[in-house]
């Protein structure tokens, strides 16, 4: 029977997997895992407590483990206590030991055990020289254990998120964080700074819009040197919507003639090509189809919706036939994820929800159910989506795990998230 189920699952994945089809019943079972605190007294208690909390949270966000919340204290060496955990159903045990050197460097030692047979599966060491970033040790350890069990990669956990957050009317900062918002570093402060966008996969530079001069201006900032380079400015508005894989071309919404349209900027030649000419609103260009086409938001039907057209011109194709207010989207391969407004009353339910469609099927999958969910951004794995969740004046970073149909929220305590990229 099990073989038949596996065969069916294989056939589904190999020949027709479609993320728009929600997996309601999961047949395979996640391994039950416990995390043990094996640190001595030489590490700051607060750091140790937060590290363990982040590690357990990370394991849950993978959706590939059944994570025990129970606090376990064990010695780092030896097998004492493991058998009793196994009796309670624990299959994997992650022993963690944090140490801090006099220079401030933090080292996390991790041992993974098969609790059933008391076998040590591996031991790894993680070091970080900037103590305030110790939670990236937890993210790295999670990525490794996830890889060890052969689950789809969660390497995105190690990536930086960049976001703008309103601090008061007319003011917003640009902040770099981890995906849980527990680590945060302000990069741009003072005035109105919006729509940050990573300039490349290496995340060593980013673009953002500054409203602090005579006109909105697009800058590129080297994140390590702080060097700021002006890319372009435009009356009205200018926003970097997408960056090509090579990092050499940008899709920019700007309005040199008071008219918001999408332009392709070639950073090498300095050439600027206007891609949309509709007299209303065309914004939010995203590269698709090996950068031969763009998907964008337009109100050419009288309401914001999602369309596509070739970089080389030609007709415009409507991509979404659902909803009457689809004002932001993100693409990954054949998938488009978009936010759709479904109500006018912010105190009611179903105000902004996220939906997933495939360009090759007619299925629509609803990803959120109620509240105000906006600004979806696909991760590199096409299985994880970041989004912004608003709850009255507060905001949170949301993480959607499409395969598992689960979402996680990480609230921002001060300020209100304006836009995100990762």
């Amino acid at each position: 029977m099990k073989k038949i189920v596996m065969l069916v699952l294989f056939a589904v994945y190999a020949f027709g997997y479609d993320a728009t089809i929600e997996i309601i019943k999961k047949i395979d079972k996640e391994p039950k895992i416990a995390v043990a605190d094996c640190s001595g007294g030489d590490i700051d208690r607060k750091i140790k407590k937060r590290f363990l909390k982040i590690l357990i949270g990370d394991l849950k966000v993978t959706t590939h483990f059944d994570v025990s919340d129970e606090y376990v204290k064990l010695d780092y060496d030896g097998n004492d206590g493991i058998a009793s955990l196994a009796k309670n159903g624990i299959e994997l045990l992650m022993k963690t030991k944090l140490e801090q050197s006099p220079s401030g460097k933090i080292v996390a030692s991790i041992k993974l055990f098969n609790a059933k047979n008391l076998t040590q599966l591996y031991e790894k060491f993680y070091t970080i020289s900037k103590p305030d970033r110790y939670l990236f040790l937890a993210h790295s350890a999670t990525v490794d254990i996830n890889d060890y069990i052969g689950a789809p990669s969660v390497a995105w956990m190690k990536r930086y998120v960049i976001f703008a957050a309103y601090t008061k009317p007319g003011f917003s900062d640009i902040i770099v964080s981890d995906y849980t918002l527990n680590f945060r570093k302000k990069i741009v402060t003072g005035g109105l700074n919006l729509f940050p966008k990573w300039a490349n996969d290496e995340q060593d530079a980013f673009y953002y819009t500054s409203y602090n001069g005579r006109m909105p201006t697009l800058f590129k900032v080297d994140i390590y040197t702080g060097k700021k380079t002006k890319i372009a400015s435009s009356q009205g508005m200018i926003i970097c919507s997408d960056v090509s894989k090579s990092g050499k071309k940008l899709l920019v919404t700007m309005a040199p003639n008071d008219q918001p349209d999408i332009y392709l900027l070639d950073l090498r030649s300095g050439a600027k090509k206007r891609l949309t000419t509709y007299k209303g609103i065309d914004v939010s260009g995203n590269f698709v189809d090996d950068e031969r086409k763009i998907v964008f938001i337009s109100e050419r039907l009288g309401y914001p919706n999602i369309f596509a057209k070739s970089i080389n011109g030609g007709s415009v194709e409507q991509m979404v036939y659902h909803g009457k207010n689809n004002s932001s989207c993100s693409t990954s391969g054949k998938y488009i994820i978009y936010s759709s407004r479904e109500g006018r009353n912010s105190f009611g339910k179903n105000t902004f929800n996220l939906y997933l469609i495939s360009t090759q099927t007619d299925f629509i999958r609803k990803l959120t159910n109620g509240g105000k969910n906006l600004f979806p951004r696909f991760g590199d794995d096409a299985q994880t989506v970041l989004f912004i969740k608003y709850i009255n004046s507060k905001s949170a970073l949301g993480v959607l795990r499409l395969n598992a149909n689960k979402s996680f929220l990480f609230p921002l305590k001060a300020g209100k998230i304006q836009s995100i990229d990762w």
Binding site: Y166, L194, M237, T253, I281, V283, S328, I417
Partner: protein
């Protein structure tokens, strides 16, 4: 209240500056008295000549003070949800604002039209919507006689709310175009 304020400022502008410049063309005292009502003493050429030479901004400590005084008479234009069409009820404000912008006191100033939106959206679309609102106001002011070359647009999206509560009355105040004067 806003109307009274606009006409009050316009009257002040015309009284102190408009009359002063036009005075030499008014050949008889009756006309002068008729306009000012309380200025029978302006009867000799030397006084009029002196007034001709007065800079319009002279009664203000700075250009900023002059701008602040003019902006008190300018009203924001409000919009319906998702719309960048100026409703008939707002057209009266466009006409009144155009008169202020074209007055002697303001004629040398540039006008920045700032488009704003409510909190329903944080994306690029919201910024484009704010821009289209500013563009609608620019077009309407142009029709009302304001030189397009004086006007520049900017969209602040939802970033500059003047009301932060979560109700329709508040959102209505945030869906607007503000007018700022620049030297």
């Amino acid at each position: 209240m806003k109307n009274s304020l606009i006409f009050g400022i316009l009257f002040t502008v015309l009284f102190f500056f408009g009359c002063a410049q036009k005075a030499p063309e008014l050949a008889n005292e009756n006309s002068i008295t008729g306009i000012a009502g309380s200025t029978p003493e302006i009867t000799n050429d030397s006084q009029i000549s002196n007034m001709e030479g007065v800079d319009e901004s002279a009664s203000y400590g700075s250009v900023d003070e002059r701008i602040a005084a003019i902006e008190q008479g300018v009203e924001p234009i409000y919009f319906a949800t998702d719309s960048y069409t100026i409703s008939p009820s707002e057209h009266r404000k466009i006409e009144a604002n155009a008169q202020v912008f074209n007055s002697e006191l303001a004629r040398d100033l540039s006008i920045k039209l700032e488009g704003n939106c409510d909190e329903w959206g944080t994306d690029e679309y919201n910024y484009a919507l704010g821009l289209k609102r500013a563009k609608s106001a620019k077009d309407a002011l142009s029709v009302a006689g304001v030189d397009e070359a004086r006007m520049a647009l900017i969209s602040y999206g939802e970033s500059k709310p003047i009301c932060s509560e979560h109700n329709e009355a508040c959102w209505q105040q945030n869906r607007r175009v503000d007018f700022k004067l620049l030297p």
